[in-house]
């Protein structure tokens, strides 16, 4: 998005709440006070409705034309009642004939200090429920995009499939039972830390979080736009034909006699990775060495799994690689001062102090920790080809926006979700995520009833 448009979207002077995970939006959400519409008689009813719908339309699909939303709007508000099976078995409904025709009266305890009002079913909070059916909004609600506009971008650019078919209409209205899938690379890009210009700035980010926090928003957005373009390119490049399940070449199980060698390689790889992960204490050149080591260790690992491999060959190669690594000048003071509380730390500390040359250096706990580290590294590798910061980390200010409404069931592993049903209202809760309360929503609902 262009800088000016971005600034208009998250304007600070007359703030509007948006469907976005921007930190400006979070700030606006934090400082938003109850608009108190209709509390005084300064405004006519028309003015109250006008202001309420303005507040809510700024949040609910501000990228959707008003005319389109008016066509989408429905005055039919869905709700459900919880039917307790035990109660239904005990009563056939005739108990509701008692009293004045809706069950025996519950006498309020007016003498109590505090009498809570009866919980209502907030039907009015469902005013924007039809909006939640839209594909772009659902993609945003499933946390696959950082804003509704970005979700729309993904849909338009063919990153979203509905029931296995590419759907490029953001206005497609999901039907109950529809499954939508978003390209995982796009999701990781949208929800991950942005890539810094000119290589990894990970060290700066770790040591000086303040510096990042105060960075100009425009710079971030410019990067975002560039990264977006990169994401598009990367996604195009990654369009490889899917492998047939029958012909999948899986790495063979290692032979029993090769096990120590394989373990040694895995162990060393893990050490390298653990050092990479705690990159504050390692110099850039050492990190580069480690990366190249990891790259070379991988084919060696598969070689060790082959029946033709001999342990001595592989060990020789491994030893030469370890020598090349030259980790010994890494600062050992930090490791000496902090007691290794977890096996991972112990491993990392050991690796920093002296590069282990033999296989049997580590105990069982450390080996296990190493295995876990390797697994983590395999799941979340440093990959400069990706359009987002790698290893992947969630973007800043994401957690206060993290919720998944009940009408969606999401599987984050495959970046897919099922739209289970339309959102509903229940006693004391409504499923439509809306930033304002009952009264504002009620006024907006009345606006769209078009009796003004």
């Amino acid at each position: 998005m262009p800088r000016a448009a971005q600034r208009r979207l998250h304007v600070l002077r007359r703030p509007k709440l948006r469907q976005s995970w921007s930190k400006y939006n979070l700030y606006n959400l934090w400082r938003q006070r109850d608009p108190k519409i209709g509390f005084t008689d300064h405004e006519t009813f028309f003015q109250q409705k006008w202001r309420a719908k303005g507040l809510l339309r700024a949040y609910h699909g501000e990228h959707i034309k008003e005319r389109d939303w008016e066509r989408m709007f429905s005055r039919r508000l869905l709700s459900v009642a919880n039917m307790n099976p035990q109660y239904m078995a005990q009563n056939d409904g005739s108990e509701m004939a008692a009293g004045r025709g809706s069950g025996r009266d519950i006498v309020s305890k007016w003498k109590d200090d505090r009498v809570d009002p009866k919980p209502i079913t907030p039907y009015m909070n469902m005013a924007f429920a039809p909006m939640e059916r839209r594909l772009d909004i659902a993609v945003f609600r499933a946390m696959f995009a950082s804003s509704a506009r970005q979700a729309r971008h993904f849909v338009v650019h063919g990153k979203v499939k509905v029931n296995g078919k590419v759907m490029h209409f953001p206005a497609y209205k999901l039907n109950p039972g529809d499954m939508f899938q978003v390209d995982p690379d796009a999701v990781m890009f949208a929800t991950g830390q942005p890539k810094k210009k000119g290589g990894s700035n990970a060290r700066q980010a770790v040591t000086n979080p303040q510096a990042n926090a105060e960075a100009e928003p425009a710079a971030e957005e410019a990067e975002g736009a560039e990264a977006e373009a990169e994401a598009a390119k990367a996604a195009e490049a990654s369009e490889v034909p899917e492998q047939d399940p029958e012909t999948t070449d899986k790495p063979e199980a290692p032979k029993a006699d090769m096990k120590p060698t394989r373990q040694a390689i895995q162990k060393l790889t893990k050490q390298a990775k653990s050092i990479l992960a705690r990159d504050r204490d390692v110099s850039t050149s050492q990190k580069q060495n480690l990366r190249s080591f990891l790259k070379r260790a991988k084919p060696l690992l598969s070689k060790a799994g082959r029946p033709t491999a001999t342990p001595t060959d592989i060990l020789d190669e491994l030893n030469s690689m370890v020598k090349e690594l030259n980790l010994s000048d890494a600062p050992a003071e930090a490791a000496a001062t902090e007691a290794p509380s977890t096996p991972e730390q112990a491993v990392a500390a050991a690796a920093r102090q002296e590069p282990p040359r033999s296989i049997e250096d580590l105990n069982a706990d450390e080996l296990k920790a190493l295995q876990r580290l390797i697994k983590e590294e395999e799941e979340n590798p440093a990959d400069p080809t990706k359009p987002y910061h790698t290893p992947w980390k969630p973007r800043d200010y994401m957690s206060p926006f993290a919720f998944i409404p009940r009408y969606l069931e999401v599987n984050q592993n495959v970046c897919s979700a099922v739209y289970l049903r339309h959102p509903v209202a229940r006693v004391n809760s409504a499923e439509v995520p809306t930033p304002f309360g009952y009264q504002v929503n009620q006024l907006a609902f009345n606006w769209y009833l078009r009796r003004r």
């Binding site: 078995a89 078919k165 039972g177 399940p245 993290a402 998944i404 999401v410 592993n413 809306t434 304002f436």
Partner: protein, 290 residues
Amino acid sequence: MPPRIPTKSSASSASALWTRTIGANYRQPKPEGGPNYLQAFGAGPNKPFPLNPQFRSERVLDEQARELIWEKVMRRGETLKAVSAELGVDLTRVAAVVRLKEVEKDWISKGKKLATPYSKAVLGMLPTKSFRPGVQNQPLEPINELHIHTATQKQLFWPTAESRQFTREDAAKAFHAKMLSADKRVPHPELIQMEKDLLKGMSPDEARARFIKAAEQSERKAAEKQQRKAMAEEQATKKVNTPRFEFRFKEVDSELVGKDGRAPNVVGWKYGMPHYDRKKGLVKIPTSVP
């Protein structure tokens, strides 16, 4: 035009100050995991919008819970209804979890990379629910929810004798002649029957066995119905294969045009009804993807 020198307004410096102080708490997810929503003005827990207390962030199933559901349905062959009733997970959600888990297993078998770091991070920010296998678990959500039918939302004046036992069945008939009673419209009518059995003094084990049998039967019935429908569709369609297309022909009675000759689903051109199919410039967004 000379380049504009950017100056910081008081609004943006206030925003920067907030980012450094209060906002710093929301920059990263909580290290111990769990939700990290705005703590403002007495908003309760798990309420992402401080001004809307009626929207709560509900718990989601974690990896272990999803795996357990998939295991129960696909490996042990338990019915969706039985799993739903046992774990307190909505029936449609159980089906969706299994469907999504199947996609995940397919990806794993094909060697396609899962978005594991993303999944871990997101589940770490959400309130989650896990199940302990083999014991009675707290339910995730109410499972026996009745859709409020529009026909039941009107007020009725329906005089009946005081001596009459006016049940849910009668109430449904009063609203609409074809309406089923609430006992039949809920997602788990079998559960009500189970509770009735328990009230009659049946042993819990026996009642449970009967419930499982009833659930199996109802699912089989639904599957058979679906199959019959597909078969009927198949028989009504004549398929002609050409090298490029498969043409599908269906018999249509052009006389069935509704009361006024303009029923919405009928075939062909209708007098007085605009026909938008060929109109230029209209985007035709599909209404369903089969």
